[in-house]
């Protein structure tokens, strides 16, 4: 993958916009284009399933897996899928991998499946995945699409973990079930309720923007 500056065949102009060193396809998802903190995509699972660090990690991994597999398939079939029915095809592919993930999680642990609940099936409508399929995988080579999916997936896991860890520590006094705070700590129940998700997300977004602003000023 050395000739990264060549425009991507006849497919789409966005591909030429996405030119850059291959590591950039990966890194951009982590920070510059972080799906949660910058693009603010896929808020439903971000807010709902980030009540503990474990749930957040599991949800992040499940989403990243679906993202990776659907990018893989969409990218390798990109010349086969006619433009007119592409969204239907993408949804079909995404739904398939979500179903597979659902079975896989059930087979791994009943408790984990119980705590993630309906949100596994809702990965289907996570706009992060469809947006990567439509905006990137359908216009780029397999290698680039995989890097993009890995980067975005990692960024999503990172963001969910940031929320999950803060909410679990403040709302439950634990991290991954291990007691962190002194026994007399009064838990902030609100943090593990939906409202806590909004508070935590707001603070993280604030931090992210402050850091980015400082960076651009210097």
């Amino acid at each position: 993958m050395k000739d990264l500056h060549s425009p991507n065949s006849n497919k789409g102009f966005l591909a030429s916009l996405a030119e850059g060193p291959s590591t950039d396809e990966f890194i951009k998802g982590l920070w510059r284009d972080n799906p949660v903190f910058v693009q603010v995509l896929g808020m439903c699972p971000v807010l709902a399933v980030s009540n503990t660090a474990e749930n957040a990690l599991a949800m992040g991994l499940a989403t990243a897996f679906v993202l990776l597999m659907s990018n893989l398939l969409v990218s390798s079939l990109r010349n086969f899928i006619p433009k007119q029915v592409r969204i239907a095809c993408y949804i079909l592919i995404i739904a398939t991998f979500v179903t597979i993930t659902d079975y896989a999680i059930q087979a791994i642990s009943v408790d984990l499946h119980k705590s993630l609940g309906a949100f596994i099936s809702l990965i289907v409508v996570n706009c992060l995945i469809l947006s990567r399929a439509e905006a990137f995988a359908s216009k780029n080579t397999l290698g680039k699409s995989m890097l993009d999916a890995l980067g975005m997936g990692a960024g999503f896991i990172f963001a969910l973990f940031c929320l999950g860890a803060v909410r679990e520590i403040l709302g439950n006094g634990t991290l991954f079930g291990l007691s962190l705070l002194p026994g007399n700590f009064e838990e902030w129940i609100v943090m593990i309720l939906p409202a806590g998700g909004f508070f935590t997300l707001a603070v993280w977004l604030l931090l992210f923007n402050v850091v980015n602003q400082r960076k651009s000023e210097t």
Binding site: N51, V85, V110
Partner: protein, 228 residues
């Protein structure tokens, strides 16, 4: 999106669309079927294990269990626990093979979704001896106290379900009461902050025991282990 009509030949284009969707559809169906077949035994095993663990939990002192199916005429008949059927009851036995009690599944509407519970009944003492939540989507931190709150769970240690003299009805139906107002052994003391969830549990227990306890008591003989 370009709305202008393209110069493509329509027949080929439609056929291509159809072809793409059918091929992808078949591919996806194949993937799903493979995963389903691959994970099914493991999923069933995990579910059965979870239920089994719960049966041992709600019938303290149990070392072996056996599933029974209830029918109007034949009473309780031993069956393989893997056969899924609605009217299942699990009997627990101690080391000597004497009956400790029966575990019954029950479900009903909770605050968020349907609650699935399992409780243990001891015909000898005519009380409920154990309780476990199998399925719950109650609010974390509030409603899910029904699974953790030790005061609430202690309700189900010796909850009175004794029968009237005709063995057909309960003397007193299990009823939920407000937190701190429990005075009778058949009342379920609620939880502050989980009022609806704990009341739902009380009501589910009430409805289920009213049906099952007279049946279980009068068919006790069915549960005696046959000599191996």
């Amino acid at each position: 999106m370009m709305e202008t009509p393209t110069i493509q030949a329509p027949q080929t284009s439609s056929f291509n669309m159809l072809k793409a969707m059918v091929v992808i559809g078949v591919l996806c169906a194949l993937l799903i079927v493979l995963t389903f077949e691959g994970t099914l035994p493991r999923i069933q095993q995990l579910r059965a294990e979870a239920l089994e663990k719960a049966v041992f939990k709600v019938l303290p002192g149990t070392v072996s269990i056996q599933a029974f199916h209830y029918g109007e005429e034949q009473g309780f008949v031993e069956i393989n626990a893997k056969d899924q059927s609605p009217d299942l009851v699990y009997a627990g036995y101690d080391q000597q093979g004497t009956l400790i009690g029966m575990a019954v599944e029950a479900s009903g509407q909770g605050y968020a979704d349907v609650l699935g519970i399992l409780y243990g009944y001891s015909p000898e003492n005519e009380t409920i001896v154990g309780f476990h939540v199998l399925e719950s989507k109650e609010t974390p931190g509030l409603g899910d106290k029904i699974e953790k709150d030790p005061d609430f769970l202690s309700n189900f240690n010796g909850l009175d379900v004794s029968l009237k003299d005709n063995y057909k009805e309960l003397k007193n139906m299990i009823v939920p009461v407000k937190h701190g107002t429990k005075t009778q052994p058949w009342e379920v003391d609620g939880i502050t902050g989980a009022t609806i969830s704990s009341r739902a549990i009380g009501n589910i227990m009430g409805a289920s025991t009213r049906y099952w306890v007279p049946l279980l008591y009068s068919h006790q003989q069915d549960f005696k282990l046959t000599e191996d």
